[in-house]
């Protein structure tokens, strides 16, 4: 029996609408596959590039305990990168090709990692805010319609919640410290607050992939909904330890049961995406150097495997 493309699409849509999981061998529309490859690989790249700003502070961590925690945390990100590349490979692409696109600058990754980690407090701010925003984005992905991605996200989210806590603990510790330490924490919040809110992507009215992803059950909540949740969750956490959110327009809105907050600088957002952020070049250079320096090692491993 020949089944037409239209019938398959219809069945697929009904299946997804019924909240069932699509598995690698199931039929899926090309656009669905393409969307997933783009999203999962960008996610994987973000984990790998995301190792760099925090990795830069492992050797300078101010106590052995913090060093061990940070080392384990950054290692987790490498692990997330691995699961996600593997989840992506179930869609018929090769990790090497995905990595090549990252290294050439063709593939995108989360723009947040194009900001520098200037002080130890940035490690606190990254864990607290960046991992916090990541959790907000990723918890709904545990219910995403594509099985391998959803399952990978379950583990990733568990680890991310530890990461967020370690970041917040660093900030808490700094706020209990000297004036210099408190200033360091406030300065880090000032620099990371807005970029963290940008992590949810453009406003719903400007988000080109959102509607389709929502209908495929890849995305469950809109960018603006998630951003609002992030603000509502984070403001009391900042207040608790005496940090001030750098937004003069921030105020509680009784009617909506959430905070009103200021307008994001979207020009900056698009500039950083376009490659003009403070560290875009540095990040890609670091990845390219690691890749090029490791070429002889990978060749040796291949040659040895063929011989033995």
């Amino acid at each position: 029996m020949v089944v037409s493309q239209e019938q398959l699409t219809k069945q697929f849509n009904a299946y997804v609408a019924d909240d069932k999981k699509i598995e690698p061998k199931d039929w899926m529309p090309d656009a669905y596959r393409k969307t997933l490859v783009r999203q999962i690989s960008q996610h994987a790249h973000s984990e790998i590039i995301g190792m760099l700003p925090e990795g830069a502070w492992i050797t300078r961590a101010p106590s052995l305990k913090r060093k061990a925690i940070l080392l384990a945390k950054v290692q987790d990100e490498a692990g997330h990168g691995l699961y996600l590349y593997s989840a992506c490979e179930t869609l018929g692409v090769e990790r090497d090709d995905l990595v090549a696109d990252l290294l050439s600058g063709k593939a995108k990754y989360s723009s947040i990692f194009n900001y520098p980690s200037k002080t130890w407090a940035d490690i606190g701010a990254i864990g607290w805010l960046v991992d916090g925003a990541a959790i907000m984005n990723q918890v709904p992905l545990c219910r995403c319609s594509y099985g391998p991605y959803a399952r990978a996200m379950v583990r990733v989210c568990k680890e991310e919640s530890f990461h967020q806590r370690q970041g917040y603990t660093i900030m808490m510790e700094l706020m209990k410290g000297t004036k210099e330490q408190r200033d360091m924490a406030q300065d880090a919040l000032n620099r990371w607050w807005w970029p963290s809110l940008m992590m949810f992507g453009p406003s719903d009215k400007d988000s080109k992939h959102s509607a389709q992803s929502m209908s495929w059950n890849i995305k469950r909540f809109s960018n603006d909904e998630l951003r609002q949740r992030m603000v509502d969750m984070t403001v009391p956490q900042a207040e608790l330890i005496g940090l001030k959110i750098p937004d003069p327009d921030l105020k509680w809105n009784e009617k909506k049961g959430g905070y009103d907050f200021g307008e994001i600088n979207w020009d900056e957002f698009y500039e950083v995406i376009a490659g003009n952020g403070p560290c875009n070049e540095e990040r890609l250079e670091a990845r390219n150097k690691a890749h090029d320096d490791g070429e002889w090692v990978r060749k040796a491993a291949m040659a040895y495997a063929e011989k033995h």
Binding site: L64, K67, L82, E180
Partner: protein, 252 residues
Amino acid sequence: MTNIQFRETLIRLGDDSLILAQRLAEWCGHAPILEEDIALTNIALDLLGRAQNYLKLAGELFDPVKSDDDLAYHRDAGEFRNLLLLEQPNGHFGDTICRQFLFDYFSLLRAEHLSSQTVNEYVAAIAAKAVKEIRYHAYYSSKWIKRLGDGTAESHDKIQGSLDNLWKYTHEMFAVDDFDRASIEAGLLPELSELKQVWAKRVGEVISEATLTIPSNPNMEIGGRQGEHTPHLAVMLEEMQVLPRTYPGTTW
């Protein structure tokens, strides 16, 4: 063995682990393959945990008591007692693997003895955990020695170069000074000269399987156990200790 002698042995054990952990941590985010990034940080984490355990124990023998962080962050290079081998820069991946391999086989033999001695039960407990970890580390580093040695002509030359450069630091693992002598006589440390033969045999087997050769009679360098280090250590410590030293009296 006096308390001071015991403390010195603990510091040597702790510093070996700490300095190598710090070096390996520099790889995080920069390894040749994602899987190796994870492997190297795993080894670094094992070593860091061990360093904390040994240094805490050593710290208790000071008056007033010192913490592991006091010892890690508030000593200068001349007060560190690690092997010179372990402070050598990472170099390329082969240099890092070679340093790891030469140390792992020594560290395993030493930890096996430490785990079975009955002089101090805390040391035995730390070492018992270490034995399990180092078995894996030695498996990992020796596999890479073989892959690189018997991989391509380029990798063979590179790893042979690493071996040629680092071999001169191997004698120090087995050199015995008065502190070591006291610990050996007490039964805490193994007879290091006997360990050397077992080490040489095991390391030699891997090296020949990897189609590499042991450099002939380079001038051996020692001094780490007495605080006479290569310049690399001070540079490494300057980075490692920057925060606690810039902001004295703070907690993080």
